[in-house]
């Protein structure tokens, strides 16, 4: 069910006083919980919950032909599906825009941060490389699927190991994982989305808050201070001052979120 206008007005009124329906402060994240290794068949996997929101992410590896413009690099592909089971709003069928955007947002943060060292995933230049497939599924949409998916993707990657590959038969022996981890760098991309609602700015929105969000800025960056990807969503303009404020909020939140998941990234 869509959020009613009267609820939207009330959310804005509350925000004027720095309050939210669930008692959180505007810049407060819900509790994050993480579980890794949730699928035996995936080469890496994770479940991330942010409050009521839940996503699962699986990493599969396959030997593929490289893309023509990167003959010595592994392939990366991120897709997402908003499962009908996770919300009454999602319907079966070909992916609609929100699912496409979710996959692309995560793809860009990971790709641009060079988190996966794709050049180390080359088996034979121009012929064979590892393909890394990151698939994101929503299990329960309680708002902020983007940030949850971002965390899920990096954690699943961090746990992923290469399967055994029989060079002669050119066949992967799935189920027999090697000790070789998917090569990832130390600098970890964390995605944080900030929303502008009325005159307030919040992070980690609930579904209701997302419904009344006027502008949304998703930023992928590291605690070391680099920003890798930005995307503005929703149709309301923001001023340069507001943008600067969002950059500050996002930086602070990124550090907090990172420290709460750090132990899964070892």
């Amino acid at each position: 069910m869509e959020t009613t206008r009267i609820t939207g007005e009330r959310i804005k009124e509350y925000l004027e006083k720095g309050k939210r329906f669930d008692g959180r402060k505007p810049e407060e994240f819900r509790e994050i919980s993480v579980e890794t290794g949730i699928s035996k068949k995936a080469e890496g996997s994770a479940r991330v919950k942010i409050g009521k929101t839940e996503v699962i992410v699986g990493v599969k590896l396959d030997v593929k032909e490289p893309y023509p413009d990167s003959p010595n690099k592994g392939n990366l592909m991120v897709t997402s599906e908003l499962l009908p089971l996770s919300s009454g709003r999602f319907e079966p069928g070909p992916p609609r825009f929100p699912a496409i955007e979710l996959g692309r947002l995560i793809d860009r943060a990971i790709r641009e941060s060079k988190f996966i060292q794709l050049e180390k995933l080359c088996i034979k230049e121009g012929e064979k490389v590892w393909g890394v497939f990151i698939d994101i599924y929503s299990i329960n949409d309680g708002g902020n699927l983007i940030d949850a998916a971002g965390l899920g993707a990096v954690i699943a990657l961090k746990t992923a190991r290469l399967p055994k590959y029989d060079e002669e038969k050119e066949k992967i022996i799935y189920g027999e994982l090697t000790n070789k981890k998917v090569p990832v760098s130390e600098e970890i991309p964390v995605i944080v989305t900030t929303h502008k609602i009325g005159n307030g700015m919040i992070v980690d929105p609930t579904t209701e808050e997302e419904d009344v969000s006027e502008a949304r800025i998703t930023i992928g960056g590291s605690v070391e201070g680099s920003l890798f990807s930005i995307q503005k969503g929703n149709s309301k303009e923001i001023t340069t001052e507001e943008m600067n404020k969002i950059l500050d909020i996002s930086e602070k939140t990124r550090k907090k979120v990172f420290s709460s998941i750090e132990k899964y990234l070892k």
Partner: protein, 235 residues
């Protein structure tokens, strides 16, 4: 002594120099509004149909009109032929374009209606979404859609450590030093941001510089758009 030597761009432009821009309004006689906009070799055409009744009816919004953009690259607009039809990239850019344009429109005046904006890239040399947004903004103006202002879009790039305006393909693929960071931004003439994206690596301080530079550069685009619109109504 001057330490910093000015950065040499592959095509010899100054860091804050845009490629030659061309703009013309009224290129598709059938459409309610249309325009062509180019940054050098990047050429975008846009046509507006509507406002017209939204069909199917269940998609009607009784509170405001709907802006529906459709960005598409022609199959022969790039070196490797693109398979015709929508793909994930084009669907995202279409939505981004709607978000970039809508803040400037008084779309509330058209409940239950839809305004269709079709954008086609006929030749691509990077910054295609920016060219598309610029053409679309002009086409909407020509179609007489009431608007607060016209938006202008430009891409800012960071090549290694240097900020440049209006990236071309060679610059987009820059690999030296810190590589290339691409930041397309759309702004109103008052400097409000209606669209921003970023791919690459940058710090918060550098990004603030980027936004300032985008404001200055978008004004140059705005002048070109304004001039073309004025010419279109000359008798």
């Amino acid at each position: 002594m001057k330490k910093k030597k000015e950065f040499k761009r592959p095509d010899g432009r100054k860091p804050d120099e845009l490629r030659p821009m061309q703009a013309k309004v009224g290129i598709v006689p059938n459409a309610d509004g249309s325009a062509i906009f180019s940054f050098g070799d990047t050429i975008a055409i846009a046509a507006v149909y509507g406002p017209k009744k939204m069909h199917p009816q269940h998609q009607q919004d009784p509170e405001k009109g709907t802006l529906r953009c459709n960005y598409s690259m022609l199959s022969f607009s790039v070196d490797d032929r693109i398979r015709p039809g929508p793909n994930r990239r084009s669907r995202e850019i279409s939505k981004i374009t709607e978000w970039a344009l809508e803040p400037s429109l008084l779309i509330k005046r058209y409940p239950n209606m839809v305004i269709d904006v079709h954008i086609n890239i006929i030749q691509a040399n990077a910054s295609t979404r920016c060219a598309g947004i610029n053409a679309a903004a002009m086409a909407l103006a020509q179609a007489g859609i009431p608007m607060k202002n016209i938006v202008s879009s430009v891409s800012i790039g960071k090549l290694d450590k240097n900020l440049v305006v209006d990236l071309n393909k060679d610059e987009e693929d820059w690999e030296e030093g810190e590589g290339s960071t691409d930041i397309p931004i759309t702004m109103t003439p008052n400097g409000e941001i209606t669209h921003i994206q970023l791919d690459g690596r940058i710090t918060k301080e550098q990004l603030k510089e980027v936004i300032e530079l985008a404001g200055k550069s978008a004004k140059k685009v705005y002048e070109v758009q304004k001039k073309a619109l004025k010419e279109s109504v000359k008798m």
